[in-house]
Symmetry: C2
Subunit: 471 residues, 2 copies
């Protein structure tokens, strides 16, 4: 530690927290090392270099595609180059899908093209498309209330706008519409469904994302309009209740294809069998280059673990898992849990970065009550980076929620997602959207967090099961 840094971390900054540091389970040198890592991370370009390389050399990387396979090769090279141990790919099978082309046209008296995109996993239309009248619903709830058979020969349209928020809380209801709307519409007789995108921008970018057929009703074509085009359709329907659309999609579900998770370890010096698992997903949807979803996550957790290895000695193993096929439904995460069932109890912490590149502003926990003081000690180190205490309901994030559901302790680093759903799942998810300083803040948080968890006395434990009366 150089003298200037020593002065900084021991004096000015840590002094702010001395009053609250009684009863903490860390040796001071863990906090000091974490603070040193924060400094290192904030001046490192490693994460930027990784996300630039991934989004440029590979670009879009749909789960199960040849591009995703190239991304796995890329990840293996990068992890090995950065000194990770046990670098390997765990393959799994999944249902393949190809987007194909789409055209959506309004019929007379307002003939014009609307901009839409196929939802991921959607079936296509017959050649020549489906031409039918539109029935508009304000929400998925209204669609559910439509009588069975009432949409026979029609195209259902669900029009509600997603709400913008810092935590992305509007996404839950939007996902119900996107994922489940097709089967609800099909049950009522619809030939196809068109939704307003689950997205908050007005840049004429339709947002893709997975549709989930429930298997009970016919799989019907499903597409999303940009917000601009949904407004246009709303205006046309206000002029004339009987609007006909022609939807042509050559989307196709393929047979079984291969995907995989890429795994690499920074081996712990004292407890190599105990694992701090940092996740991100390597796949992306196929229209953008997957910069903020989830190239940044890949870069953040990889760079954080590499910086820990370069500048410190973690006592436990820090494992980076770059999941495949997250977008099609956490397929890689489920495969990981299945393939590594015997290791689940060795995982003392999971956390995933998968919410773009906005600054981390809160830390949520999903840990045993007895471990809360250890989390508080981490938080004190992260406070100068702007990280505030969150709640105790953390699952750790998208893929790793499969691990926390299987019993792993979890901490979620909450990012500012105010703009995230402007870009999420659109062609516009590109490198230029990433702020390098915000990216570095994320790396700093994850590096400090990973080191402190790896070195904490006694580790972390899963939260107590809630009793049936909710306590």
């Amino acid at each position: 530690m150089n003298p200037i840094r020593s002065l900084f971390v021991s004096g000015l900054v840590s002094g702010l927290f001395v009053a609250g540091m009684t009863g903490v389970a860390f040796a001071d040198d863990n906090a000091d090392t974490a603070k040193m890592l924060i400094e290192k991370a904030q001046t490192s370009s490693l994460a930027w270099d990784l996300v630039e390389s991934l989004t440029t050399e590979i670009g879009p990387r749909l789960g199960g595609s040849a591009a995703e396979a190239r991304a796995r090769d890329w990840a293996v090279r990068k992890l090995e180059g950065l000194g990770f141990a046990n670098v390997h790919v765990e393959d799994f099978e999944m249902d393949g899908w190809r987007r194909g082309d789409i055209a959506l046209h309004v019929g007379d008296p307002y003939p014009q093209r609307l901009i839409a995109t196929a939802l991921g996993g959607s079936v296509g239309t017959p050649v020549g498309g489906i031409t039918a009248s539109v029935v508009r619903f304000e929400s998925i709830q209204d669609l559910r209330e439509a009588p069975l058979g009432s949409l026979k020969g029609k195209i259902a349209y669900v029009a509600d706008k997603m709400t913008r928020s810092q935590r992305g809380s509007g996404y839950g209801v939007a996902v119900q519409k996107r994922g489940g709307g097709a089967s609800v519409a099909s049950e009522r007789g619809a030939l196809a469904i068109v939704i307003r995108s689950a997205g908050t921008d007005y840049e004429r970018q339709p947002h893709t994302g997975g549709v989930r057929y429930n298997g009970e009703f016919a799989a019907i074509p499903a597409a999303a309009l940009s917000n601009n085009d949904a407004d246009q359709l709303d205006r046309l329907l206000a002029l004339n209740g009987d609007i006909e659309l022609t939807l042509s999609m050559s989307a196709k579900r393929l047979g079984k294809v291969k995907s995989g998770n890429v795994i690499g370890d920074i081996i712990g010096s004292e407890y190599p069998d105990e694992i701090v698992l940092l996740g991100a997903h390597l796949d992306s949807w196929d229209e953008g280059t997957g910069a903020i979803d989830d190239g940044t996550g890949v870069a953040i957790v990889t760079a954080a673990a590499a910086l820990v290895a370069q500048h410190a000695t973690p006592k436990r193993t820090i494992r980076v898992v770059l999941f495949g096929a997250e977008e099609q439904g956490l397929i890689g995460a489920r495969a990981y849990v299945k393939a590594n069932a015997e290791e689940m109890e060795k995982i003392i912490m999971v956390s995933e970065s998968d919410f773009g590149s906005g600054r981390i502003w809160r830390m949520d926990t999903g840990i045993a009550k007895a471990d809360v003081p250890k989390a508080d000690a981490i938080l004190r180190v992260l406070r100068p980076l702007g990280v505030l205490p969150g709640d105790r309901t953390a699952s750790g994030g998208s893929d790793v929620s499969a691990l926390s559901a299987a019993g792993a302790p979890a901490i979620s680093m909450g990012q500012n997602g105010w703009d995230y759903f402007d870009l999420h799942h659109t062609p516009n998810d590109t490198l230029d959207k990433i702020d390098p300083d915000d990216l570095a803040q994320n790396v700093a948080v994850y590096a400090a967090f990973a080191l402190m968890v790896a070195n904490t006395d006694g580790g972390f434990h899963a939260p107590e099961k809630e009793t049936e009366d909710g306590n």
Copy 2:
């Protein structure tokens, strides 16, 4: 005039300008009437209603297309409904064009799709596309300096970024690249040309716009990359100088097709044969709905003239000309000048609105020196709207520059164009981009301007011809 308005225009507002109003050629009641029109315009929704109707009911309206013909029918209905006289269409012929589809792919080792659009009027590629190595040029000037034959079998790529400015001053050099680059590249042997869009956004929207083959060299396919994709190609070329692209375009030049200008008059009460001509263009490129280019212009000049007719008595005729096929090279404007050659001397003023919906902040003149005090009087009325004095080189704007070149006096109302080239010629040129308050400010300026010009004593005259030594 109601008492409250009378107090406002005679007292509070006009009082600010009394000191400067000596020697003005207007009767005070012209200025007062103009100020009343400003009030009316600022609370009128007419322009918004017009642009909403045009962009919704017609949508994109490429010059020479069936959609542009529907837009002419729409314009005739609207002008007649608003009480314009002599509403009619002047047809003309032009070369038709159809965009078709485009696909642009990078070859190994970085296979991925880039987002591009065909330039307007471009020829297509053979079926299966053109696959060739890329040769990058920093600018159109660098491309011009490439030796003849040096691009044989290659795809030329011109990479320079357009500069953002309030007046759109970066567009001139960008248009040289977009319009002229294909013939320069073809002369040097290139099979196709790809340019970075003439646009300032990073929303992954390629900007179309006309390519102009000079007729001397083979017409080669020409396409524009979004700024994001141009950055991507730049990064790939930095990694590996030998990048191959495959460009497939089904764009097609059609035979002769029909377009037309739509014309309507507010007849002057004293000098009906003297014309104040307000222009805008009815056509748009085919990917957006032509909201800011030039639905707003159509709405602004139509609403301004209609408000004058509703609330005042112009002494001269105010003519609205909604030109066809502006985007393909002022084709409608040239047809208008040709068809109305005998009327040119009756035009005492031309002005066009064709720079989006940003607020007007300056007024430039192209008039005789003797008429400058009359323009100053107009400016004094417009000053409370934020309009500042400009220069004396005005052409009146895009189409009507054909009229000022033919000898008509001109005034240009300069809008804030800071964001204009984010949207210009992209799919993202949609209604939601228009600020209703800014739109109303434009209508207020044009209404006051049109009334004052129509009623000025002695009219306006063309600027004196410059002598050969520049004086």
